[in-house]
């Protein structure tokens, strides 16, 4: 839509000192607080309406919240302290009709300090009613100040993104300022969590800012996240592509992994933000730490090749109601989530036998590595449930860079500075055993098997291939003897790989005790 002149209202004249700048008087005639109050109220209304009442009304007719309404829906009542509320861009008149028509207080960005459920944080909302939220120099300067405050106090930053990228009309000034913002986003990584709800468009540099967030949610049918929009794509490549295909929630949730949750509307997105912020904090648990978990035995089949849903096992073990899955639609062979154990906030990584038999592949390696690194920076102990037959074999994976991406997972676990606990549920085979071997304490269920490769292949390698002169009965005996020595959980425990074999009913109790024992190592 071509930007139309805004419908900002006229403001009442402010009382001035008069020509010549006379000295302030103590007389009652000059004490014009009434006019000042009216001017302040008019300015307040004008600033609150962003790009003007008509544009805000249109935005709301789309079923969307304005920037200020988004913040109000997220933060605790009365907690929002806004920065640079009246800031306007400083582009000289005549430089650009769009800029001339959009000199709005706040410059298309609302940001400040606030609390969510009592937790201090910094909050940012782009205002799509002003040049589609495109970021100019003045707004970026506000962001820099906010990020500096957030860095000083290690405050989480929550962004409600609805931004058409850097404001092109402001040229290099805008790029320079946004570059400073990106520097601060990167500097804050690892010091405080950064969460983004993509509430509308999120393009170019703003898309990179979202991608630099630790966790991102998108709204179905409303959020679009991409570096280059359809128009420029058409000009540059001739390719006709629509917004949804270029950067819709489905793409990022299932293919790129840039989106960790897809929600149905903005309210649900705000609820996701609150829930995620809460999930990153420990808090007293109602669920008894020694609650028996006999259901684990019903969930995990003893037969090695039967699939089951690992998510049910995780749900059975962690504090009831505490689990929040992260990126559930991306690399579904490895599930990741935030949860609590005995009230302690933890990060959960788990193989998922329901998809690709739980094999690790390129996407799962990237997903796991990113999540473990995030957990490490947030001081979240990592609990890994392992049922992995190995890396997914094949040319596609090798060409896709399983080596370079797979090593990211090794690197993330190896470099983690938080307590690591693994539970071998059934299989921990081959190099994919990184999921179990990197742990400080390794537990196993009675179904656990650990081997350099699957047992059938291990037998073949260990005993050598059958030879023509070998008696088949003797061969079978040798194989059976080998299996008897290695095909039971105590083999891995006797070797010292597994620290304990845990009964299914005791899994929650032992796991929680382990996490607590390792905490603050």
């Amino acid at each position: 839509m071509t930007e139309k002149p805004s419908d900002r209202g006229a403001e009442p004249a402010l009382p001035g000192r008069g020509a010549g700048g006379s000295e302030p008087s103590q007389g009652s005639d000059d004490n014009d607080w009434g006019t000042l109050a009216a001017a302040l109220e008019a300015r307040r209304a004008r600033t609150d309406s962003g790009g003007g009442p008509a544009r805000l009304a249109r935005h709301e007719r789309l079923g969307r919240l304005g920037a200020r309404a988004r913040i109000a829906a997220l933060v605790d009542d009365g907690s929002f302290v806004e920065l640079g509320r009246e800031v306007v861009h400083r582009a000289p008149p005549g430089d650009s009709p769009a800029l001339d028509a959009n000199r709005h207080p706040g410059d298309g960005l609302v940001c400040g300090l606030a609390r969510v459920d009592g937790q201090d944080l910094a909050v940012v909302a782009h205002d799509p009613t002003v040049l589609r939220g495109a970021l100019g120099h003045a707004a970026s300067q506000k962001l820099c100040r906010l990020y500096d405050l957030a860095h000083r106090r290690a405050l989480p930053v929550v962004t409600l993104a609805d931004c058409d990228g850097v404001r092109v009309e402001e040229g290099t000034l805008a790029i320079d300022a946004y570059g400073e913002v990106i520097r601060r986003i990167v500097r804050l990584r690892g010091r405080a969590p950064q969460l983004t709800l993509v509430a509308g468009l999120c393009v170019g540099a703003a898309a990179y800012a979202a991608a630099l967030s630790d966790l991102v949610a998108m709204v179905r049918g409303q959020s679009f996240l991409f570096i280059t929009g359809p128009k420029v794509t058409k000009v540059a490549t001739g390719e006709e592509v629509d917004l949804d295909a270029l950067g819709g929630p489905a793409l990022h949730a299932s293919k790129t992994g840039a989106c960790h949750a897809v929600v149905d509307d903005e309210r649900a997105g705000i609820a996701w933000l609150r829930r995620t912020l809460a999930a990153l904090r420990s808090q007293p648990a109602d669920d008894p730490i020694d609650r028996p978990t006999p259901e684990v035995a019903a969930i995990v089949p003893t037969a090695e090749r039967r699939a089951y849903d690992m998510r049910k096992l995780v749900e059975a073990v962690v504090d009831r109601g505490s689990l929040l899955w992260v990126a559930p639609d991306f690399a579904r062979n490895l599930v990741t989530g935030l949860a609590r154990l005995g009230g302690r906030a933890v990060a959960v990584v788990a193989s998922q036998p329901m998809h690709l038999a739980g094999c690790l592949d390129v996407d799962a390696s990237l997903k796991g590595a990113r999540f473990v690194r995030f957990a490490s920076t947030r001081r979240l102990p990592v609990v890994t449930f392992v049922d992995v037959p190995g890396y997914l074999p094949g040319r596609k994976q090798e060409e896709g860079g399983i080596l370079v991406h797979g090593k990211e997972l090794l690197d993330a676990y190896g470099a983690a500075t938080v307590p690591l606990t693994s539970v071998v549920v059934r299989k921990s085979y081959g190099g994919a055993s990184v999921l179990s071997f990197a742990a400080d304490v390794r537990l196993g269920l009675p179904t656990a098997r650990v081997a350099p490769m699957g047992l059938d292949a291990t037998v073949e390698v260990a005993l050598g291939p059958p030879t023509p002169d070998e008696d088949p009965a003797q061969r079978r005996e040798r194989e059976a003897a080998f299996r008897a020595r290695h095909d039971h959980p105590f083999a891995a425990a006797e070797s010292g790989y597994l620290d304990q074999i845990v009964a299914p009913a005791d899994l929650r109790r032992v796991l929680a005790a382990t996490v607590f024992a390792l905490d603050d190592k």
Binding site: T2, R58, L243
Partner: protein, 81 residues
Amino acid sequence: MTPADVLSTLREILERDFHIPPEKVTPEATFRGTLGMDSLDVVDLIFFLEKAFALNAGLEAYRELHSVRKLCDFVVARKSA
């Protein structure tokens, strides 16, 4: 419901929310060409249209509907299904 009914509503939406004069909204007009809308405008238009006609077809269903005529026919077909 006829294509003319849909066209009338479409003209109202395009004038109110996109400042496009009704006389430009002919059956032959294309959204991205004649009417000068960009991809985000089209997404917004779909939202307004679905709301106006109580449809729930989703973005994907509109992917090939580049002209006003095609869009009107689509809405009529959906409403009579």
